[in-house]
Symmetry: D2
Subunit: 321 residues, 4 copies
């Protein structure tokens, strides 16, 4: 998808790609008439490559990110930077002072609805912001193998919402309180020390509050809503459906289509817009909309969630890294 | 229902009632501790009766209306005045000049939604009014015996919408074009020379248009919508549901409750408001909101609909009574 | 309002009433042609009084409740029973074993939408219940004098939502975590040691979660929503508006009416239904739908909220009364 | 837009293009690295061109269509085929029997919502179809120069809805009744003998009804709705908005974004799907979804509308060509 979006962007061109699964890489390279590199290192080093987009497994992000930065090439990296805050902090220390633009793939910031709500709130359309309510539920459980190595729900799923909360609140988060339950697949969750149903409450120094509600399985589809409540009003960015047909029959009215299935469909416009923002950042015409520190903060908050559940108390982020 | 509404109204009291079905009358009279009159004549004549509400079969309306007017008692009469425009015109001639307030039970004018839309349009909130779209479908077929004597769909059902169109358009209707079909119960409709599915198009001298869509059976409930389209915007008065719960499950979202079942439920607030308007008219604090001439006009338009279908042409109302 | 609802109920009659504000009492008594009692004691003792509805200031509830129970008269008491859990526990001890029906006025349980959602969830329509999300915001600040003596937001406002959460969850609450902020009127809140913007997270022994979001002032109206999320779907009981008209103009579409203003309008049907449930309980045809212990539990949870905010930790309800 | 869609389609390639405005053609050709032909004839004749898409002014359609058919190249032609039914009939006679696929650009058939509604109705999800209600209003007046030569509202605008009505009804249209008014720009409309506000009623031999409501200017945006009413239910394909954010403030709730501006945005997915259907037709894997005869029928119905308004009567299509 990223390759297609880059190729279709009027101010970008796809130079080539690398994928450990060679046939996939060859197929995409073929379709676009571009190089299929032999390794990530080769891709990052290639003269034809001006900028790098990293959408590989999480464990490779730190190395590739560092390589791209050292090569002086702007980089767009999928979240999370890493599952270990310590490794992220070490990387931060190593690349400190580099002028190379680093952008994190917090795609939800670029959703037309979420972004419009954020702009409206930031412009004061609902006065002073008081509460942010984020509902985020996946349409179904990821494979067991993913769950087992994902770093846990707060790092694999909530992390998007933690970033979105920061984006919406417009102020750093001071406290984190989380509740975790095992209701969808209790056995798997217990085995992994993980949760499938969580609520996270955040607050800022000025008292603004955010609530995140997550589930690993919503049978009715990918539920992605944001509500912003302020002193002068409320904004709601609602779910998108497959189409806008409603059916009205004996006993029930207003029956609507399922929600768009999953992130590829739901955030298709956002993924496209993300490339545009990356190009702007590369060209220097606009600041990076979600950078390395945003990635680090989201991971730090995810860690705080685990700690809060473990200790049954509110965590002060000032006590963490 | 009318008896209960009168009894509950702060500025009205139920004096008594008459019903040809004596046990029903006794039951209601008992419940409210009022007189059950022996005849309509007795009820109309009674000293304790200051005003009369007629909700009897259509064929009795003309006589009771005339009796009430001659007794000098303000009267609220259910529509239609009669099935025969000639009889209505004769009555009009006989009671011409009487100062007694006569109000017609065009209850939809008093629905909070429809009334708010009309007020907003009349106040210019959507600029100049161009089109009125009325959707009006019954939840199910009335009994055969009703259909056989109702005077036909345009007089028993569309008449409400014809009045609503006049109310919304704010201008007399110049032309009427109607299309009738037999799709719900073709055999019954053919036998009665009636239709169960109709579309009526109206236009005014200034070119404003109204469209009425009727069906004698909507399985999803009593469908009552009004759309007002103008030079500066649009107003939609939507259906009311039994409650505001939506259900979201695998394969379908937004599943809402059925529409409120039928006119008693859907227009409960309107029936209450109607009594208030009648009391205002009796007390002389406000003009009659829907009077005898409104009832006559609606019947005339219903006649025009039948003529239009029969002759396959647009009818000029100026050619009728 | 309660007097009118009792008078209008087909199986109840208003016997009389007492109000410390004598002119108000006289006015209502006059209107209904009933006795205006000289004292609460007289009202409770009167032979003509079969059952008692207490809608007096909170501080009087315990005494009146006890008097009614001792008089053997079923009682419907507005929440909260008292601001002091200790006093409530003492009362509980004194009236233990009494067969007199005591009903608490948790009116939201009787709202057509909320009640339909609860029934659907209890009937398994959304599988196993996982999360309950309650949004409850007042349209505006109560007078300072009320805030100063109300017992704080958790006891004056959240208490309704705490009861609703228990009603929806169908399982006792095991843990309580609350966050409180002063964003609407920081000075007043600081002076009273109170909050105007809170988030409460509850969980049950089986892991079910509830989230309550409160604000003392929502400029767009009285915001009352409930969302039930389960293994097989979701139910949302939405806000009610003044009417169902939408307006569509240059630059904005779907503009709807304000929400129904406040609890009298929003829960008008619920207040009516509440009387019916009380009559059922008096007649013994149905169990009391919300009893003394429900009132005690809600107060206990409100206390837990204050404790959670004060100590910055999750409270185990098993550690409280 | 068509060039971009062809280029992006996985089973199509853009071979080249011709536009009388040479700079535009050069610009698009450059961007896609394809030939800019010197004339339509050259484009149609080119060996590299396997199929032809005609999106030129209406007056050129007949000639280009015939040229493409004679060259044996499948053709997708924008509606209408021509403003003159006689010319269309003559062309039909000249190309009768040709096996070359001809597809008409009735893009609304391919809208995800409209298409899903049609499929659901055709699959019997709402029983037997009784009524089709099409609302179609442009966001603003086209330039005077367009209006003056467009062939009139029924041929330039309603023609899309006439085709959509045929598509939805699934049965040929037997009668046409139209009403036309001059409310948006009376002077221009009178000068052109045209209308800006029209209602069209259609019926089929079996009695099914369709209503089309048009306006040349809806200030709230491009209003495109379809309602299908049947014996077992109703389907509504609703408008699309720029995003799904609603705003709730003092005095108004549910304030939503404007409708997607015009046909390019509103039917973007449909224009894409149209190319896919054309490719299927070229490859012979699916029948042409909207062919020459569909184009002829829509034009015939548009003529019937003008005749109906002129003569104030219902037109039998059997009396026309």
């Amino acid at each position: 998808m990223h390759a297609d979006n880059i190729a279709a962007h009027p101010r970008a061109a796809l130079a080539g790609l690398f994928d450990v699964h060679a046939p996939s890489a060859a197929d995409v390279a073929d379709r676009h008439g571009v190089t299929s590199f032999a390794s990530a290192a080769e891709a990052i080093a290639a003269d034809t490559v001006d900028a790098v987009l990293i959408a590989t497994p999480t464990s490779t992000h730190v190395d590739y990110l560092e390589a791209a930065v050292r090569a002086g090439k702007p980089v767009l990296c999928e979240k999370p930077i890493d599952l270990s805050l310590a490794r992220v902090n070490e990387l931060a220390a190593r690349i400190a002072g580099s002028p190379v633009p680093i952008m994190l793939g917090f795609v939800r910031r670029f959703d037309p609805g979420h972004a419009a709500a954020q702009r409206a709130a930031a412009a004061g359309e609902i006065g002073a912001l008081h509460q942010v309510i984020i509902t985020s539920r996946d349409p179904g459980m990821a494979p067991d193998s993913y769950i087992e190595t994902s770093g846990g729900i707060f790092r694999d799923m909530t992390i998007h919402d933690l970033d979105l909360a920061r984006f919406m609140l417009g102020e750093e988060i001071a406290t984190v309180t989380a509740t975790g339950a095992r209701l969808v697949d209790p056995a798997l969750m217990a085995r992994c020390g993980d949760f499938d149903t969580v609520v996270v409450t955040l607050s800022t120094a000025s008292g603004r509050q955010a609530v995140i509600t997550n589930s690993r399985r919503a049978v009715y589809g990918y539920d992605q809503r944001v509500e912003l409540f302020g002193s002068e009003g409320m904004l709601i960015s609602d779910n998108r459906r497959e189409n806008l047909v409603t059916r009205h029959v004996a006993g029930a009215t207003g029956i609507a289509a399922p929600l768009q299935h999953f992130f590829i469909e739901r955030y298709s416009e956002a993924f496209n817009a993300e490339i545009g923002h990356f190009v702007d950042a590369i060209e220097g015409t606009a600041p990076v909309p979600a950078g390395f520190e945003d990635g680090r903060q989201a991971l730090l908050l995810a860690d705080a969630c685990f700690l809060s559940v473990a200790e049954g108390r509110t965590i002060q982020t000032s006590d963490l890294g």
